[in-house]
């Protein structure tokens, strides 16, 4: 029998590292054993690549961009990605917690791992890793696709140009940041529709609201939202009114960090 025995001395206490591995394996198995997660990722990838191709075609066939226009060749690469990759993956991340709360599986999970922050950390690690992997793969795919289509018109960029590899890597990380924000909100809100709505507000809604504000406030508040920060990180010519790309990257990291911190505080204090 492989199950450890409870001898008179009590069960052997494994090291913290082993226990962390346990939790990670637990969450990773749960993530990979649901078929709809694969379906979501495949749909996200197909929609992202498709829309990216359409956008690249539109940019390529349009009039020559004036220098410093809103959408440079780099930004255009991520226009489809920012929507068709981010939303499905964020919803997938939301469901990591809300599906357990709505089915009641969370009780089983917390009986197996009573340290709640460890469950959150395990889920964040598993979901974050999957989202980062998918994000970087899709980010580079979108970049190369767009530049290949634009290079025929001599407007493409290459990875060799300064700042471009970092921007593409950061673009891939966006997916991970959005997924972890969604995961944290899912843990706090517990109900799928509410958590999805909150995630969409956090990722897109606040930026949309800022767009409607008059001029000084638009950028003043807007620079702390994900889309504004992302546009700074992904632009070859950052806009002067917003935060610098480095600070914008901090904003992008700050959203998931804040959501996960809030989630830790909430789930360790409340009854399941």
């Amino acid at each position: 029998m492989t199950a450890p025995q409870i001898a008179a001395a009590g069960p052997a206490v494994p090291s913290r590292l082993v226990r962390a591995g346990d939790v990670l394996a637990f969450e990773w198995t749960k993530l990979r054993s649901v078929r709809s997660n694969y379906v979501t990722l495949i749909i996200a990838a197909m929609a992202t690549i498709g829309s990216t191709a359409l956008v690249a075609h539109a940019v390529g066939s349009g009039p020559t961009a004036p220098q410093g226009g809103l959408f440079t060749a780099l930004t255009a690469s991520f226009l489809g990605y920012a929507e068709y990759a981010v939303i499905p993956v964020s919803v997938l991340a939301v469901l990591q917690f809300t599906s357990e709360y709505t089915t009641g599986l969370i009780s089983t999970t917390l009986c197996a791992v009573p340290r709640r922050w460890a469950v959150l950390a395990g889920k964040a690690a598993a979901t974050g890793a999957a989202a980062l992997l998918a994000g970087e793969a899709l980010g580079f795919a979108c970049f190369f696709l767009t530049q290949a289509m634009l290079s025929g018109r001599h407007r493409g960029l290459s990875l060799a140009q300064p700042g471009v590899p970092g921007a593409v890597l950061a673009g891939g990380f966006l997916l991970c940041a959005c997924a972890l924000t969604a995961l944290g909100l899912g843990a706090i809100i517990r109900h799928t529709p509410g958590a999805i709505a909150a995630t969409l507000v956090a990722i897109y809604g606040l930026a949309a609201l800022c767009l409607t504000l008059p001029a000084p406030w638009k950028d003043g508040f807007g620079k702390f939202t994900m889309p504004f920060a992302a546009s700074q990180v992904l632009a070859t010519h950052p806009q002067p009114g917003l935060l610098s790309p480095a600070l914008s990257m901090l904003v992008i990291i700050g959203w998931p960090a804040g959501a996960l911190l809030a989630a830790t505080l909430v789930i360790t204090r409340r009854d399941v």
Partner: protein
């Protein structure tokens, strides 16, 4: 992927939304060449982002396969059940673990679900945890398992709070709600993930699947399982780490006759190995045959905690006497201090004297006795008397009505 109901409407809507969305993106990209246009394009695109959450939610919605339960036949067979005892038999003696609940109180806002409850559950026997719906059984179990934080008091498993146990499944196996599973995951992956969380190997997963008769359906998604199969899956999960304590909340719900028989045998064999087995129920008949010890609560308070046989012997019992000279006999009996309650057609229900004493008394006075029957209240009746009393008492003191959330 099987789509949830309503997909026939959702799919064209999604197609239109996607097409419009792509059109917006393309226009946005074109408009970007002119500096003053993008603002409206942004606004339109963002407005279109909203529906996407709902679309993905629909696509990811739980599969609702009707519970036609293919494979149920393989579960009903007696062979798997007979083998299960051996498969799960323990080779090392169980380290006895006691559950102590000490002055436990749990309030949900104004509602007191558990009220200064104290009891001890000992190893080596099946303990029935009884109470009417809403008595606080589930809440007590959730506090024991660390899912709910008590308002005051504490619940200890082997002297520790549940949250303090490292790899707790090795100490406590529990089943609170068999339907609390992700329908999209197969039985195998459900059990494997739980096993991994506590460092349990794959061979043991195979073992419990075989022991619970689920080996043949291990690759099937749990959403297709019947309630009885889900109960077995939950029991398999509880047994995964071969724990010294087993806690089951209403485990008999949804099981067929063979399943009920199987589960009772399982409880008894687990207890015989020295484990602590707690089985909650709101029906006495479910636990009367299995439980060696009873803990009965009502309205969050302890009503009784005693061995099952003592509970029944301490319950109401009387002797039924029928005699043609019933009135005369009644006078004699009351003179000896017995309490008499007349029943129909000349019968007397006598308490306070046993049958031989009544018979001797009647013989001594030359009174013919046609019937002399010692009667014990059934366990069920004793339980009803007990919980009725508590309910009446509580209602009389205008205690706040509580929801039946047990």
């Amino acid at each position: 992927m099987s789509l949830p109901p309503g997909s026939d409407v959702a799919i064209p809507v999604v197609a239109v939304v996607v097409a419009f969305d792509v059109w917006c993106l393309v226009n946005l990209a074109r408009a970007s060449q002119v500096r003053y246009l993008p603002k409206w394009a942004w606004a339109v695109a963002i407005c279109v982002w909203g529906p996407w959450g709902g679309v993905i939610y629909l696509a990811l919605g739980k599969d609702r396969t009707p519970a036609s339960a293919p494979g149920e036949a393989s579960l009903a067979g007696g062979a798997g059940i007979a083998a299960s005892g051996q498969l799960l038999a323990r080779r090392v003696p169980v380290d006895p673990v006691v559950i102590e609940v000490d002055q436990l109180t749990k309030r949900f806002g104004p509602v007191t679900a558990v009220d200064a409850l104290s009891f001890t559950v000992r190893p080596g026997q099946v303990t029935g945890f009884l109470g009417p719906n809403g008595a606080g059984k589930t809440t007590t179990m959730r506090v024991i398992l660390g899912l709910d934080t008590p308002t005051s008091g504490r619940a200890l498993v082997g002297g520790r709070r549940y949250q303090e146990i490292i790899r707790p499944l090795h100490v406590v196996g529990s089943l609170l709600d068999a339907t609390a599973v992700h329908g999209g995951r197969t039985a195998w992956f459900h059990l494997l993930s739980i096993a991994q969380s506590n460092g349990i190997g794959r061979r043991r997963v195979v073992q419990v699947l075989e022991a619970t008769g689920l080996a043949a359906v291990a690759g099937r998604r749990v959403g297709e399982f019947s309630l009885g199969m889900k109960q077995r899956l939950g029991i398999a999960a509880a047994l995964l780490a071969d724990p010294a304590v087993l806690i089951f909340d209403e485990p008999v719900n949804g099981l067929d006759a063979a399943g009920v028989h199987w589960i009772r045998q399982l409880f008894q064999s687990m207890a015989a190995e020295g484990r602590t087995v707690v089985v909650s129920s709101h029906l006495m008949s479910e636990v009367a045959l299995t439980a060696d010890h009873l803990i009965i609560i009502g309205r969050g308070r302890l009503l009784a905690a005693s061995p099952t046989d003592r509970f029944i012997s301490g319950a109401r019992q009387d002797v039924l006497v029928r005699s043609p000279r019933a009135d005369e006999l009644a006078g004699l009996l009351t003179a000896r201090g017995a309490a008499i309650r007349p029943e129909g057609d000349g019968g007397l229900a006598v308490t306070g004297l046993d049958a031989p004493a009544i018979g001797d008394l009647a013989a001594g006075h030359g009174i013919a006795v046609h019937e002399l029957v010692p009667r014990h209240a059934s366990l069920e009746q004793a339980y009803l008397d007990l919980t009725d009393d508590s309910t009446d008492y509580r209602a009389g003191t205008s205690a706040p009505e509580r929801t039946t959330a047990s």
